[in-house]
């Protein structure tokens, strides 16, 4: 029991270390929330499938600082995302923009439901018919 407690405490102290790496100071608590939300939705360009919040790559550090500075300058979320997208491309946005060339991506889950419903419907109709 004692050992488990120590392991748990050790792990918790590590998370503190990671979170403490760059803790930027904001004047408004809403700005801190915006910062945390933005580094969640921006992807680290150096890494495959890690967001800025979860990466300690040097470029992720720089981009987190950039987000912080832009919030300080009073830019809104949309401006910050557009700034990043212009420089790093669509890749940096975890949530793809809604554009004609991404419609398929957005509607694919719904499209995939159609054949499912079709098959389900057929099955229900046939199983009700007496053999």
């Amino acid at each position: 029991m004692m050992i488990q407690c120590f392991i748990l405490l050790f792990c918790l102290s590590l998370t503190e270390l990671v979170w403490g790496l760059d803790r930027y100071e904001f004047d408004q608590p809403e700005d801190a929330d915006r910062y945390h939300r933005l580094v969640e939705v921006l992807r680290c360009p150096k890494c495959l499938n890690v967001n800025l919040a979860g990466s300690d790559a040097p470029i992720a550090n720089d981009l987190r600082k950039q987000v912080y500075l832009m919030i300080k300058e009073g830019r809104n979320d949309e401006q910050i995302l557009a700034f990043m997208q212009l420089r790093y491309g669509d890749f940096i946005l975890y949530q793809p923009r809604f554009r004609p060339d991404t419609w398929l991506l957005w509607f694919a889950p719904l499209l995939m439901l159609i054949p499912g419903f079709f098959l389900l419907g057929r099955k229900l109709i046939y199983s009700r018919r007496p053999k």
């Binding site: 040097p58 420089r87 491309g89 890749f91 054949p115 057929r122």
Partner: protein, 178 residues
């Protein structure tokens, strides 16, 4: 009829798998599209390794390469000799961006290994962000108007040079100034 229909989900699955497999090739680092193509270099004044200041937007006056490098980057060492070669052989100006590096180390590296660069900007990462750089080496082709025309991520070697950079540079040199 019914038997064929039951194969439909499988067919859809295969279609989707092929579609998604394509994305692996799209996410290769050097295929990342750069939204900066066709844009001017940023209007920034920056210090160089020889301790003077230069405006990034105005510094390029003929077709040139902009090469992002650092002494901590092993691939940069690998491409360095090749950059020396092409700068001489093709009378091609190469502008260096010494990226997140120690200026003293950078200067002694150039003194030791040779200097293919017209000048080197000292970048703490801010120019890197403007250019959408996420590591070193990266190389941009800049036209005579200072507009970014191509971006290559990774080492510049014989293959990249002869397939991509050289034909583009030759074409750009023929473009008439607007």
């Amino acid at each position: 009829m019914n038997r064929w229909l039951s194969l439909l989900p499988l067919a859809l699955f295969i279609l989707l798998a092929v579609f998604l497999a394509r994305s692996f090739t799209l996410e290769q680092a050097d295929k990342l599209p750069s939204a900066l193509l066709g844009q001017h270099l940023p209007n920034l004044t920056m210090p160089t390794l020889s301790e003077d200041k230069v405006n990034v937007r105005l510094m390029v006056k003929e077709v040139a390469l902009l090469n992002v490098w650092a002494t901590w980057c092993p691939t940069c060492l690998a491409e360095h000799r090749y950059l020396l070669e092409i700068s001489k052989k093709h009378a091609l100006p190469i502008y260096g961006v010494n990226y997140k590096d120690d200026p003293d180390k950078a200067r002694s590296w150039l003194a030791e290994l040779g200097n293919p660069y017209v000048l080197n900007l000292q970048d703490d990462g801010s120019l890197g962000i403007e250019l959408g750089v996420y590591g070193a080496p990266e190389t941009f082709v800049i036209d005579a108007q200072g507009v970014i025309r191509y971006r290559h991520v990774g080492e510049v070697n014989e293959r990249v040079w002869s397939k991509r950079l050289y034909p583009l540079i030759m074409a750009l040199r023929k473009e008439l100034p607007q």
